[in-house]
Symmetry: C2
Subunit: 361 residues, 2 copies
């Protein structure tokens, strides 16, 4: 990677075709003609996945950070060559409106903070990527969509799997009916997180729910893009075996969905299990991704044979696609509207589990 600090250190970047960047935003904006992304919320996903992914992107780059934890700033600036002018806290974040170096704000906060930051980002004239789940209620998702629309800014939800090659293969099989019509889908995404101390496991006001909100949403998503259909009804069952953990959240949840054309799905998600797959049965065969929802190492099988699809950086693909959507004003695969739909179905799943009744959409 060639960046300003490397150039200063080595003096070789002119030979490599780089230019000298004066401090300030415009230089970054034009660096390799990429869109500038600011990460808002520097937790594990931002530091472990998004920042590294932004070193692999072709159409955008890590230009700035927004954080409520000042102690994190020096390391990020050093590691990713971020100038002071592109560093914000949650108080002065709205000043980002005047910073041309930042085109996109990627919101990586706890779920219930997505809306206020998305509104502020859009009002500051920035395009928005919002991590999944989009928010903690469908009403708040609608507000987010409205705010971005009003500001004429684009909105992407962090649905990395929609941009991943194995999952895109599922979409293609569905579209082409490669193995006939889809009949039954099974999917489960679970991990043993019941003892976690993160807000996802301890603070229902921030998380909006348990494993369904956090990881079950991947299975929900996979049934939708894997079938090309939206569910028409859902039943669900919620369980708890360790009463003093996961306050106000489910521990395990199963849900079943009916789609048009008689397609059905059975899904599960749990913080006391280990499962990570989507399995699709069609008239003429079956295919599966397992692991399906990890950041890498996905394995696809079709009728017992390997799919032989290469893994790649999912978040880089997702962010590059959004950058091109912005550049070319093209439709967004993981749009706010898809995020809203998922939240409507999640609310339906929770309602079905609570009432022990089928919920229709």
């Amino acid at each position: 990677m060639v960046n300003r600090r490397n150039f200063i250190k080595t003096g070789t970047s002119l030979a490599l075709g780089a230019s000298i960047f004066p401090s300030g935003s415009r230089s970054y904006r034009t660096r390799n003609d990429k869109l500038g992304v600011a990460l808002l919320g520097l937790g594990g996903y931002a530091s472990g996945q998004l920042a590294p992914a932004l070193q692999e992107t072709q159409h955008c780059y890590l230009a700035g950070i927004v954080t409520g934890t000042p102690s994190k700033i020096p390391e990020w600036q050093e590691k990713y060559d971020i100038p002071d002018s592109n560093v914000y806290n949650y108080d002065n974040f709205d000043d980002i409106a005047s910073n041309d170096a930042i085109d996109v704000v990627y919101i990586v906060t706890p779920n219930a903070l997505h809306l206020p930051f998305a509104v502020r980002a859009a009002e500051a004239g920035k395009h928005v990527i919002c991590e999944k789940p989009m928010e903690i209620s469908s009403d708040r998702c609608r507000e987010m969509i409205a705010a971005c629309k009003k500001a004429n800014r684009k909105l992407q939800i962090g649905y990395r799997c929609r941009y991943e090659a194995h999952h895109k293969q599922l979409m293609q099989y569905a579209r082409n009916e490669t193995f006939g019509k889809i009949k039954v889908i099974d999917s489960n995404f679970s991990f043993y997180g019941v003892n976690g101390s993160n807000w996802r496991f301890t603070d229902p006001e921030l998380s909006g729910g348990g494993p369904l909100m956090d990881i079950g949403i991947y299975s929900l998503e996979a049934t939708r893009y894997g079938s090309g259909l939206d569910p028409v009804s859902v039943t669900a069952q919620s369980y708890k075996s360790i009463p003093d953990k996961l306050p106000g959240m489910e521990e395990s949840i199963f849900w079943q969905m009916e789609f048009p054309d008689g397609v059905v799905a059975n899904c599960g998600s749990s913080y006391v299990a280990r499962s990570n797959y989507v399995h699709i049965s069609t008239e003429k065969g079956w295919y599966r991704i397992e692991p399906a929802f990890s950041y890498g190492g996905l394995k696809g099988v079709v009728n017992g044979e390997p799919m032989n699809i290469a893994n790649h950086n999912q978040q880089a693909a997702q962010m590059d696609a959004f950058a091109l959507n912005i550049r070319n004003n093209t439709p967004i695969l993981g749009s706010g509207e898809e995020g809203l739909k998922d939240m409507i179905y999640i609310e339906g799943i929770y309602e079905a589990a609570r009432s022990e009744q089928k919920v229709k959409f």
Copy 2:
């Protein structure tokens, strides 16, 4: 294999330690000191699985046949060296009472015929193996148990997986809590059989139900012996996408079970899908068999590593275990009581699907 016909042909069996068998039953009874089994119902499972398995058994052997299809008799007699005296039809079957060559009758008829044949076999003084599902209602299962008890005959249900090495490993993990307490079980057994012409797909009066009765019972069984627990409640959802097929039966069914100690299970079975696994998550790990319910080629994985358990003839293991249960008067793993339990749970699953209400046991 050394049998009478081979001996006659080759003249070598004396050298191999065999004796010359006069025609008639006693000679067969004492052949290698094995118990004599008569197969009742010579369909695909009897011809494709049980008869071959009986060539591998150590403690029992294929001594006789009972069939309603006379045209099948010559081939069976020829292939398996079965004397005329050990061949019965459904009219003269009760004469088997006087045939000492037959110790066990293995009933391999359509489900709704299990009870009457089991009663007749027991009343004829024979021990009974009854293929799964045990019958089409719990009341009929109770009648079968009572009939065998009254005749002081032993009863085994054809639960081959309970005698299979991978599945026995599941039982051991549960018993020893090798990976801590079990938390969540997923299992599905499905195949694309919606277009089948067999009674299983066309005659609900014989089958008593659809895929749940036929193959879903394997998943139900696996949750029970895999946890060492019996369910306390069930929810279920039944679906149909091809209205003119599978008369009076479900096409796909999902069901969820709560067990003591907070163990939960999510299962499925379908005639329009392809799935064949049991996946168990515990406090400290996970393990899976997939394929789980095939006659061979089972593969076990524990925490991502192969179980490295050899496949073996499941039906031979099952029948040999029963022969030893008879010899030694020991408890039967796949007992009639287990068959009854499964039928009670299956009735609960159907009731839960019909009523869309949780059913408690």
